[in-house]
């Protein structure tokens, strides 16, 4: 089978969009190693970035086995337009901890719900893999949610900075729910319902925001709105993708 076979498979495209989100998020979050505001969180955030990369690998390995491909090739060798990550993952945080924190929290909450649904899929060992990843994802959501509340309620400055970060990211967040092109003409077809998943996500993040004294308005974009899930990536994706694949392109067979 070929990469194109995988890309044309509806279930694979759902798996791929989560894997790509995690790969990109883990990659960019690794930049914070050594730079996070306090030592304890520096270690924790780095550890969770490793988790994200590892979770992406677990999903790529599933796809590799299903479609007889190399997981590294899936991760690094696709055309940029074949990546299914949403644009939120690569929005630059410009080393603003508030932006990094909000972005990871919004995405982790979404990923957890996506894995909840994939864990129910009876297709090879995909369900088992996602059930395992879901538990780890829940730890991320709890950790990041705890920080959202503390930074939202910590001081006037921390509240303002978190609110500014949310204002920056809120519009892009809805596009996490953009369906990939294939086989998802209706909301219900989008892995147990796009609208239902959005409502569940909005309820969860709304509860934490309320406790944190923060406000954000999220809307489910129209089906026609196109973004990263359908390969129409922002410029910041191209920059991150180019950097992430630099070694792979220079030395395709390199290994450590």
């Amino acid at each position: 089978m070929t990469m194109q076979t995988m890309l044309a498979n509806p279930l694979a495209s759902i798996v791929l969009m989560h894997a790509d989100d995690l790969l990109m998020l883990g990659h960019v979050q690794s930049d914070w190693t050594g730079l996070a505001p306090i030592l304890e969180e520096d270690i924790a955030a780095s550890s969770m970035a490793q988790d994200d990369l590892s979770h992406a690998l677990v999903l790529y390995q599933y796809l590799a086995e299903e479609f007889d491909l190399d997981p590294d090739a899936i991760a690094f060798d696709r055309d940029p337009a074949d990546y299914r990550c949403c644009n939120l993952t690569t929005v630059p945080d410009e080393f603003d901890w508030a932006v990094s924190m909000c972005k990871r929290w919004l995405l982790s909450t979404y990923t957890k719900l996506g894995l909840d649904r994939l864990a129910l899929v009876d297709e090879g060992d995909l369900g088992d893999r996602c059930a395992r990843l879901r538990d780890e994802s829940a730890i991320h959501v709890a950790h990041l949610g705890a920080w959202m509340i503390r930074l939202g309620t910590g001081s006037t400055e921390s509240n303002e900075r978190m609110q500014a970060a949310l204002n920056l990211l809120a519009e892009e967040a809805g596009m996490m729910f953009e369906p990939p092109d294939l086989g998802f003409e209706s909301d219900e077809g989008f892995c147990c319902g796009r609208g239902e998943m959005f409502d569940e996500w909005a309820t969860l993040v709304g509860a934490t925001l309320s406790e944190a004294g923060l406000q954000a308005s999220f809307t489910l974009p129209d089906q026609a709105a196109r973004g990263g899930r359908r390969g129409e990536h922002a410029g910041h994706f191209s920059e991150q993708h180019a950097e992430m694949t630099e070694v792979r392109r220079a030395e395709p067979a390199t290994a450590w």
């Binding site: 304890e40 969180e41 270690i43 969770m48 590892s54 080393f95 709890a142 920080w147």
Partner: protein, 202 residues
């Protein structure tokens, strides 16, 4: 190193005043269900929830770990520590609050949970714990009010991650690096042999 790191960090004004240090917490981990919680290290955190979150990332991933407890450093009271092992006392009683008892099994070792006693205050708790747990072998006793010992909940029990983290362990690192050095050395040896062989024959 990422190119993003090449961006110089700049500040428009003086840095804001430093925030106070977090509270200091002592962390203990259990390697398997039913095993005692053994001292693992410390974390700084503003409250117990984040202390456990940090402890999970710092100490829960370094070795087998099925549970974590922590308490604020200031909540602990340590009993006498001597050159000789503690001998059992005769203080007894069932009044007061519950205290978690940690024992030090050998000099230079680490504390681990031993059980609980009831006592109205820390000194009495140490006396009663000495009666109950000192067996002529342990070196010291620490007590912490049960209400100030915090533990990962059932929903948070998952600590080991899906991915292979042996590279974080000294033994894993040693094994991996040794293998790479062996390979490198073998290649060097072969290259040297090849050069000498060519020189000998041609």
């Amino acid at each position: 190193m990422s190119k993003i790191r090449e961006i110089p960090l700049s500040f428009d004004a003086d840095l804001p005043p430093a925030t106070p240090d977090g509270r200091h917490w002592v962390v203990y981990t259990a390697k398997r269900d039913g095993a005692p919680f053994k001292w693992a290290g410390y974390v700084d955190a503003p409250d117990q929830e984040l202390a456990l979150q940090f402890a999970r990332e710092h100490y829960g991933l370094d070795e087998a770990c099925v549970g974590i407890i922590c308490h604020e450093h200031a909540a602990a009271t340590d009993g006498p520590y001597g050159l000789e092992p503690l001998q059992p006392g005769n203080a007894e009683g069932e009044d007061g609050q519950d205290w978690t008892v940690f024992t030090l099994l050998k000099r230079g070792g680490n504390h681990q949970t031993a059980g609980t006693v009831k006592a109205p205050d820390a000194d009495t708790a140490i006396d009663r714990a000495t009666t109950r747990f000192a067996d002529g072998k342990i070196r010291s006793i620490r007590v912490v009010p049960n209400s100030q010992v915090f533990q990962t909940t059932e929903s948070e029990l998952l600590i080991w991650r899906t991915h292979d983290m042996t590279y974080k362990l000294a033994k894993g690192y040693s094994k991996d690096v040794r293998a790479k050095w062996s390979q490198f050395r073998d290649e060097q040896t072969y290259e040297q042999y090849r050069k000498e062989d060519i020189a000998r024959h041609f």
